[in-house]
């Protein structure tokens, strides 16, 4: 029998990564800039110890509040003579680590709950929905502030707390996709082949859900950075002697008139980083799943 062969290539080109690879060749300038910036930030975070010219608490008392460009402090110093560039580098690492850790915790937690709700329906599903409602009822900032107030601001608490940000989005997506897969779709058919539920979820549903989840992660990541910066700015997040981007802005506030660069440098980094992630995330979303908005 002759079957018209309308497909163009036999190359398997439907994994998430190969689609991204193909898309890379048609990158608009702003997105390209965003990717470069993000890559830069990640490198800074990884190699912070190596590239940092000074320790973050090293005080150069002879050059306090030095202007940027005053050798050897490229970005100037703060009121205690601490090198702004070094503190900035360390802050980038701190904020990125927290945001990464929190995003992953949030994604895993949310996806698992979403799958559980889809698989077991009934009471479990209602429980998950109630939890999601609860999360939506309390503005995250307020809840974080309250918890930090009661339990004190330790680093691990901070990361776990940030990890609760946005889980309900992943849960909703995972649940929706799992349900539609089960109802009439490939999941039902694999079950019918005799697969165990584990196999159905891990080998079939999860990979199909992955691209949507990744897009969601690019949306929550910048929000977590903003959230943590806000908390640190208020003095409730990362505590000294550790430094984070929000922290630096908070300290720089006092010297807004005399030494605005203390506050401007971290602010600029926050803005460019969140901007980059938003741009790249939007673009990724269009490429991976145009039906999403």
């Amino acid at each position: 029998m002759t079957i018209a062969d309308t497909s163009s290539s036999a190359r398997p080109d439907h994994t998430v990564f190969s689609r991204i690879g193909r898309a890379f060749r048609q990158v608009p300038f702003s997105v390209g800039f965003g990717i470069v910036w993000l890559a830069g930030m990640v490198l800074v975070a990884i190699f912070a110890d190596q590239i940092r010219p000074y320790g973050i608490t090293a005080m150069d008392l002879r050059s306090r509040l030095a202007l940027p460009g005053t050798f050897p402090h490229v970005l100037g110093t703060d009121e205690l003579g601490r090198d702004v560039l070094s503190r900035l580098i360390q802050s980038i690492r701190m904020s990125l680590v927290i945001a990464f850790g929190a995003t992953i915790i949030s994604a895993v937690f949310g996806t698992t709950l979403g799958f559980l709700a889809a698989k077991f329906r009934g009471v479990v599903e209602h429980l998950v929905l109630v939890l999601a409602d609860f999360q939506a009822a309390l503005p995250f900032l307020i809840m974080s502030i309250a918890i930090l107030a009661f339990f004190g601001s330790s680093m691990s608490l901070l990361i776990v707390l940030m990890g609760f940000y946005g889980w309900e989005r992943y849960a909703r997506i995972a649940r929706g996709l799992a349900i539609s897969a089960s109802a009439q779709g490939y999941a039902a058919s694999v079950v019918q082949l005799g697969a165990t539920p584990m196999r159905v979820y891990l080998k079939h549903i999860l990979p199909n859900v992955a691209s949507t989840l990744i897009v969601s992660m690019t949306l929550t990541f910048p929000e977590i950075i903003l959230m943590e910066s806000g908390l640190s700015f208020l003095g409730l997040g990362v505590q000294p002697p550790e430094t984070s981007l929000g922290n630096m802005v908070g300290f720089g506030r006092e010297y807004l008139t005399r030494a605005p660069w203390i506050m401007l440098a971290p602010s600029l980094v926050i803005m460019l980083t969140t901007l980059s992630i938003s741009l790249v995330g939007d673009w990724l979303r269009d490429k991976l799943d145009p039906t999403l908005r």
Partner: protein
């Protein structure tokens, strides 16, 4: 059928509030001795003992839980350590100050954000569209504290035309309101734009204009009502944050509202007030979510016939 819808929503709202109260209870108990927490470390011994008795702190946990709920519903949130005034009173008297910022900010967001987004959607690829997208992106990537400080830098320090802190005259409210509004305008513009674009791409819009309707009518009677649904959700969140959304801004501008009270209380470990704010804010959000849900049911008839979820 509407009745069932309303009842389910009310029930869910009630459960959520109960969950928040339980959460507050758990946090309170886990973080240390509630008596110390609520009364402060310098409270005289008799007060502590009396407190423990009223709250039944020696009783099994279920009794404590019930006592806690009872006290919440009777308005007793404990006493602020700083002023020795009732926590709930302290909180309530700060609400108007916060609203003075958030309500004008919300109006600005609605008045500028939604039209900008809708206009951009209807004139894709024009200068205005690009401008709106650019502005919107800037608006929500710049964190509010940065925005606030930048505005202070520009208007108070460099230009010297607006005051930078306190609540003395109405001019003092301009910068904080502006700071809050800008981020929200960005979010609303972006959202309205994508909601409109989605609706305009639907087949029924083509049908409407093919029927010969004037473009104006197509937009106003067909596109906008449908686009309204997702926009209402976002607006709902913003309304719910009327009380809670000003935390950072109030800190920057030393505006004596609830947000500032929260931060100050946390720094002073005045936990009775913290707990009170938590519950008041949650109640506001739940109520506003409920109103949005009900509004949904009225706006979108399809949702009415479904039961809860």
């Amino acid at each position: 059928m509407m009745v069932r819808f309303i009842l389910t929503r009310l029930f869910r709202a009630f459960i959520t509030i109960l969950a928040v109260i339980t959460f507050a209870f758990v946090v309170l108990r886990m973080s240390g001795d509630p008596a110390q927490v609520m009364l402060g470390p310098d409270a005289p011994n008799e007060t502590v003992l009396a407190f423990r008795a009223t709250w039944g702190l020696d009783q099994p946990i279920w009794v404590q839980y019930a006592a806690y709920i009872k006290s919440i519903f009777s308005g007793d949130f404990g006493v602020s350590m700083r002023d020795k005034a009732s926590a709930i009173h302290l909180v309530i008297e700060r609400i108007p100050a916060t609203l003075q910022l958030t309500i004008p900010a919300l109006l600005l967001k609605l008045a500028i954000g939604i039209p900008a987004g809708v206009y951009a959607a209807l004139h894709r690829q024009s200068i205005i569209d690009r401008g709106v997208i650019f502005g919107a992106v800037l608006g929500f990537t710049i964190p509010s504290f940065v925005m606030g400080l930048l505005l202070v830098l520009l208007f108070s320090i460099i230009l010297g035309v607006l005051p930078s802190g306190g609540q003395d005259t109405w001019q003092h409210g301009i910068l904080p309101t502006l700071t809050m509004a800008i981020g929200g305008i960005g979010i609303l513009a972006r959202f309205s734009r994508s909601a409109m674009i989605e609706v305009m791409g639907q087949p029924f819009i083509r049908t409407a204009s093919a029927k010969g309707l004037k473009w104006k009518d197509v937009v106003w009677s067909h596109a906008l009502p449908n686009a309204a649904v997702p926009i209402v959700t976002i607006v709902g969140f913003m309304v719910g944050s009327l009380i809670a959304g000003a935390v950072v801004v109030e800190s920057i501008f030393s505006w004596p509202g609830i947000g500032r009270l929260l931060v100050v209380s946390v720094t002073n470990r005045d936990l009775a007030v913290v707990q009170c704010i938590l519950l008041v804010v949650a109640a506001t959000m739940v109520v506003s979510n409920l109103v949005v849900d009900l509004l949904y049911g009225w706006l979108d008839p399809r949702l009415r016939s479904q039961s809860a979820h």
